[in-house]
Assembly symmetry: C2
Homo-oligomer: 198 residues x 2
DNA sequence: GAATTACTTGACACCGTGTCAATTGACACA
DNA sequence: TGTGTCAATTGACACGGTGTCAAGTAATTC
């Protein structure tokens, strides 16, 4: 059921993403999604076994639409650690606002639903891999700032890139995505890149 | 009702804090608190109008117990901006683990309860005041790093000190409070304190 | 014309919060 | 000895949202 790819299934996913985006991930119920899809509430359960299942599918769907792999390509192709780091942050910083609605819904579902927690943790683990890769690249260049072990640097980079930090700066403080990306890049570079006395 | 200070009321508050602490703020229901207080569920509602009301009262109660004002005194008495900044971070970093359970519960309640959101925002605004004061002190010393306006620096400091960042580093990554405080202090200093070419 | 598929309708169980009304037991004061 | 009051108890219930179940419908296919 959740593996098929019917027309209706896609409509549900589209509505879900649209509504979550619109409402910042908050207060969107199964019934609302059904209505938006021009379908009965129960029909949604014909395609997704639970709200969490739907949310998880929605993130996957969105990742496909946004072509995450393509977006990450530049960072992966970087020739230096510094470049890799800044391209990764750029990529991530522009990605967050696009997945924020769905992500927020999933983050909130975490509180009560074990499966949602696992799904979100999984995504964050993937993000962490990106951080680790950037730190490793820096290390390979012998450009990792002194005082850091690679795991600790990965922890620190990962933590500063998490969604709530973005949320605070953009949504609460009103920073633009551009400002956010600039600041996180600066912060990461001043933190993790060895200072060469030029 | 919520202003009185009966024996039972205190027992409820104690149980609430204890249970939230124990369970990391998750999955503690009104009935659980009642049971823990040796009281019926309804009796809790005799002292607190709602779960949110109870949570808010619990944070206040905890602040009293922890004597927050006293803890903040050293930072307030600092004679330089740098000192103020680092003492504030030290204070905050040691405070978070003690209020984490209650804070987490309040943060989670935010999602569905307007009043909880307001209460938490209020606390975060207070924390922000501390940040602003530290940045202002730095500025007064002409030690605020170039490139920062005071509001932007306040935003950035505030955001990096938010609970989810602490949560990621300590709970998810396993850093100790000491490590967290050291790192946040370093991070804040390297970010906001002007570098004097010594 | 019978079976299959996708969907609808409506009822219902479960959970946790919050409300209500009737009752109990203790203490106070007269 | 009663009367009033106060804190708390008991049990029932409403509400909102998720998830389940069973019966029915309408279109497609063989």
């Amino acid at each position: 059921m959740s593996s098929e790819n019917t027309e209706t299934r896609s409509r549900i996913l589209e509505s879900t993403v649209r509504m979550l985006e619109e409402h910042g991930g908050k207060g969107v119920r199964m019934g609302d999604i059904a209505k938006e899809s021009g379908i009965s509430r129960q029909a949604v359960y014909l395609h997704f076994t639970s709200r969490t299942d739907l949310l998880v599918a929605a993130t996957r769907y969105l990742d496909e639409v946004l072509d995450v792999d393509k977006r990450l390509a530049p960072s992966r192709a970087a020739t230096s650690g510094i470049e890799r780091l800044s391209l990764y942050i750029d990529c991530w910083g522009n990605y967050i606002p696009e997945i924020y609605g769905v992500g927020k819904a999933l983050m909130m579902a975490r509180d009560t639903d074990e499966a949602a927690a696992a799904a979100w943790d999984d995504r964050m683990a993937a993000m962490r891999d990106g951080c680790r890769a950037a730190i490793d690249a820096l290390h390979a260049d012998k450009m990792l700032a002194p005082g850091w072990t690679r795991p600790k640097a990965t922890d620190a980079l990962w933590a500063m890139l998490l969604v709530p930090h973005w949320e605070a700066l953009t949504i609460e403080c009103g920073w633009s995505t551009k400002q956010y990306v600039r600041w996180m890049t600066t912060l990461a570079e001043q933190t993790f890149v060895r200072r060469t006395g030029s």
